[in-house]
Symmetry: C2
Subunit: 242 residues, 2 copies
DNA sequence: GGGCACAACTTGACTATACAAGTTGCGCGG
DNA sequence: CCGCGCAACTTGTATAGTCAAGTTGTGCCC
């Protein structure tokens, strides 16, 4: 079953925006150009553009071509899944150092995190230090379901994007849940982030699911405050309940 | 200049959803019913529904009427502006204790927060402890622009919603910016939240603007971790950049 | 060079129509 | 009572068209 045309159009434009080919502030092709390019009526083109506007990727007004929004508007939570993309978007140099990557028996905690049934008894766990302009910024603990994490055992995790590698090996990510809170640095955090035990860290946890709803990845990312925060801008239609 | 029909339709449905008239899980009128009700073609109706879907308020699929989404999907950041609404939504009892409400000369920090020009020399500042089921959960420091804060000096801030009071007195809120990070508890935090100085607190800062873009309120809310966190669920169209 | 008018371009909103895909309800037969 | 088939309903996608509102570019005149 082929994807609807309006989704194909939106996806292609989204890719061109995210890759940087269409930079913030740049005009996108006009509606009539897109209609010609896709041999489409105006309906699907307009629907695709409406979708991208709703995602915050496009801005503009009547009579003018749509332009790519500035990153600050589009990204606050889009980048929750990619540390490197976020760092690059703020003009900093991302880096990483994999401290540990191991297949091991699943602890009760790991089982809970991945929602494992009693049948599966191993997971892949990773500890990774994330750098910003060469300095420690975040310590990332990841627990992968075995079938996913095993793929990484054959990959040099400091050579490139784990996500790209997993995707190119058939792993399909479908949904993610994020929880943001604050924690006190434990001994491992303190050692790698260069802070005192008990110091406040901003924590972002993430449960990533595949198309069947199975949790394939759990992350616990601990950020040094002052370097990183999460931001959101509410638009003009401020809604409020009291 | 009348608002476009599709916006009117969306707004009316949004109101019915937010008021509870259309409860989570409830079906909304069919497209053809809405077309008849609004004497409209299918286009504007579909556009309104698409907008509400993009906002996370509606769910459903082909062949079935749209249904109202469960609050968990729609609310993560909708409730950033209302502590009471959030507490109530999780089945807890919100409470509050105003520790201080004062009109005072604007410090350089207050000036920076509100973006004050040299002309204005006073602000209204408030310190408030927020309770959850009777226990301390969050310490809130608020700096109001003088014209807004002055209204509160005649209000019993522990008797009800400041927001409602300000709105009923003509204050129009238009937009807000939120920044979430982690901080170490200072002496004031420690005294009121019952923690050790230096303990990690989850901090949410907020700049609230009126329709003219002027910052009328700055908040610095510090939450006890373990009680409060921020969450977000990404839908099926997981987007990722590496 | 600047300002104005007009044409061309562009998006926003809406109507009408058609077909595909999916859901729900009803009637009939076993 | 249950299952199946079919009709009616419903949403999803797309084409074609029209008009309003806004922007941009060009040419002409001062």
């Amino acid at each position: 079953m082929p994807a609807p045309l309006h989704e194909l159009i939106a996806e292609q434009l989204r890719g061109r925006i995210r890759s940087g080919e269409l930079a913030p502030g740049a005009s996108i092709p006009s509606e009539s150009q897109l209609c010609a390019e896709w041999q489409s009526s105006r309906g699907p083109v307009r629907q695709a553009l409406a979708t991208l506007r709703a995602e915050g990727l496009l801005a503009g007004g009547q009579g003018r071509r749509a332009v790519v929004s500035t990153p600050a508007l589009a990204q606050p939570f889009d980048t929750l899944l990619s540390y490197s993309a976020w760092a690059t978007s703020i003009g900093r140099t991302p880096g990483q150092k994999t401290l540990e990557l191991a297949r091991r028996p699943a602890s009760p905690l790991a089982r809970e995190r991945l929602g494992l049934e009693t049948g599966e008894d191993h997971v892949v766990e990773e500890l990774r230090l994330r750098l910003l302009d060469g300095d420690p910024a975040m310590l990332e603990r990841t627990t992968y379901a075995l079938r996913v994490g095993t793929l990484l055992l054959d990959f040099d995790t400091d050579s490139g994007s784990e996500w790209s590698y997993l995707e190119s090996h058939g792993v399909a990510f479908a949904a993610a849940r994020h929880v943001i809170d604050a924690v006190a640095a434990d001994a491992v955090d303190a050692a790698h982030l260069g802070v005192v035990e008990g110091s406040p860290l901003l924590r972002q946890r993430r449960w990533v699911r595949d198309a069947d709803g199975a949790v394939i990845e759990y992350d616990d990312d601990r950020y040094l405050p002052g370097l990183v925060n999460f931001s959101l801008e509410n638009g003009p239609a401020l809604t409020h309940v009291s």
